[in-house]
Symmetry: C2
Subunit: 338 residues, 2 copies
């Protein structure tokens, strides 16, 4: 006869069924205070039997910790956000913390509305995520009574922020190409006003030296296609490798190369960035690329907000998490397959 009634079971029901006071019941269940081992067992057994589960609202009201956090994102498409959010949720559920998802659609009014709702709900913290388009978060986040962690977006000077390590990721790509004997490496990437694009390009320059050429454009296949056409149309030595700023760009580049009858990877090796499986797996040949470890990023952000919400110190500033090289076949290393 577990929980057949219409009402949820309360700790009061447990206490009555176990013939004990509610304080004793509470102490027994939580292992707080002093309780006789035998009593404790009995209470716990009874609680189990009648299907008692503590009301998180009441608990949160008293403890002033709701064990919930909010995730504010302006990423409508979700290619970066959802894997990240899944990581956050995954790591926090084991700590009894749930995640409110708030999609702001880049609408400040909506962002404000969500933020107020989160505060009313006494969330223990907020994770703010933005695509790299507009790096500055809505101002209202600056002076909040709860901790904020930023991912893919830079907060105020002393805030806790997580990014993928674009510099290291780019280096990973270039080093891989060099190890395979490539020397004339071209870089095709997104718009110059994306911080990530600039960092990757800089890292590429540092690794390749003088001959290096970075072409800024769009985050699109079209741009990858166009850039390759441009480069192969002009006279002079052609690159023997292309490091692309995104998998989409890489895809466009590969298509263009095929149109030009350039053999991949024999004539030109290609590396992408994102490890966006639907793209990277479908290029011909499958794309060697850089994985930003979005889930791990979510884990770290989740753990950070958890610590902060408990008042534990977390090192402020930007933490950059290492990227990972995923080897497929576009560089001529078909030994490992993913």
């Amino acid at each position: 006869m577990k929980n057949t009634g219409d009402r949820r079971r309360t700790i009061y029901d447990v206490a009555k069924a176990a013939g004990v006071s509610i304080s004793t019941a509470s102490n027994a269940l939580n292992g707080t205070g002093r309780t006789n081992a035998e009593t404790r067992e009995r209470v716990r057994r009874v609680a189990e039997e009648i299907g008692f589960r503590p009301n998180a609202l009441a608990r949160g009201l008293l403890s002033k910790r709701s064990h919930a956090i909010g995730m504010l994102t302006n990423d409508t498409y979700g290619r970066l956000t959802l894997p990240m959010a899944a990581g956050v949720s995954e790591v926090l559920v084991d700590h009894g913390v749930s995640v409110f998802l708030c999609a702001t659609n880049n609408d400040p009014r909506l962002a404000q509305l969500h933020l107020e709702a989160l505060l009313d709900r006494q969330v223990d913290g907020i994770i703010f995520t933005a695509t790299r388009l507009d790096l500055e978060p809505p101002v209202q986040l600056s002076r909040l009574p709860i901790p904020v962690v930023y991912v893919f977006a830079e907060g105020p000077a002393d805030s806790v922020t997580f990014f993928p390590d674009d510099e290291q990721g780019a280096r990973l790509a270039v080093d891989h190409l060099k190890e395979l004997g490539r020397s004339r490496i071209l870089h095709i990437t997104g718009p110059r006003d994306y911080l990530a694009a600039r960092i990757r390009a800089q890292s590429y320059h540092d690794a390749c030296g003088d001959g290096a050429e970075a072409m800024f454009g769009e985050w699109s296949e079209e741009w990858g296609h166009e850039a390759v056409q441009t480069v192969f149309a002009r006279p002079g030595l052609k690159p023997d490798a292309i490091f692309c700023g995104s998998d989409e760009i890489a895809r466009g580049a590969i298509d263009a190369l095929r149109d030009l009858n350039v053999e991949i990877p024999t004539d030109v090796a290609v590396v992408g960035f994102d490890n966006w499986e639907v793209v990277a797996r479908q290029t011909r040949p499958p794309l060697t690329t850089i994985d930003m470890e979005l889930k791990e990023l979510g884990h770290r952000a989740g753990l950070a907000i958890l610590s902060l919400s408990k008042g534990e110190p977390v090192p402020a500033g930007i933490t950059r998490l290492p990227c990972r090289l995923v080897v497929r076949q576009s560089c001529g290393s078909p030994l490992q397959s993913d």
Copy 2:
């Protein structure tokens, strides 16, 4: 001097500042009970001044309605889920309802954990979403004290369920092709064990009659590519149009057609399914396709769970929401552009 203290302002602070009892304050703020207009104004002004916001936990505890819902999804990649979730969140935030995001990763243990957390939080309802891979939800959802709405997944017989109207969507595609004078329409789609694939194929058969041929395979570019090669390699009349079960398949098909020097749309018109912009926009020519209106699906699901949680009746059974034809250039109608 608004809210400079460390403590959050409570209704008690409002009452004291306005020189009134907390009951009067509550009545004034909520417009309940009898209150003098002048008092009401004063209380509201004071509340505004000191930045009072009611504690949702306390409110929920009393009203037994948390004004929060849970969204349980096993879609790791998020291509369907996140736009849908954004729709849910968008429509509910205006009603003061927030959304817990729970990614189950197809792990029953994780699903159970999330479910229990949601129940402990007294959520007013649950939206269950699955990719179409495993249509049956975890059993534990069957007998819950709160309403459940299913999206992309079929619940028990009398449950409230939302799907895109695959039948109408497929018809839309075929009709469009016919209107453009195409008569030999081929259908390339995903695995036969996906309900959506079967429905679309059936609709296609109904519209095209005897000559119709539906090829089941994978939801991948590769399959689209392969299917086209197969069809164009065998003798006999070639199709003058292809209706693909997904944009990815369409992309593969288009690539294969180009390899065969078949002109698109002159020789063969192509229609996709999903309107997944990153794919549909990047094919050459850009892909005419079917949009499943995921955000609208989210709106409807959100409104349904809202009504149910208020005890208002909602028609049970499967509701299929109409799809929309998005015309680009792969069928030879470049008049409208999206």
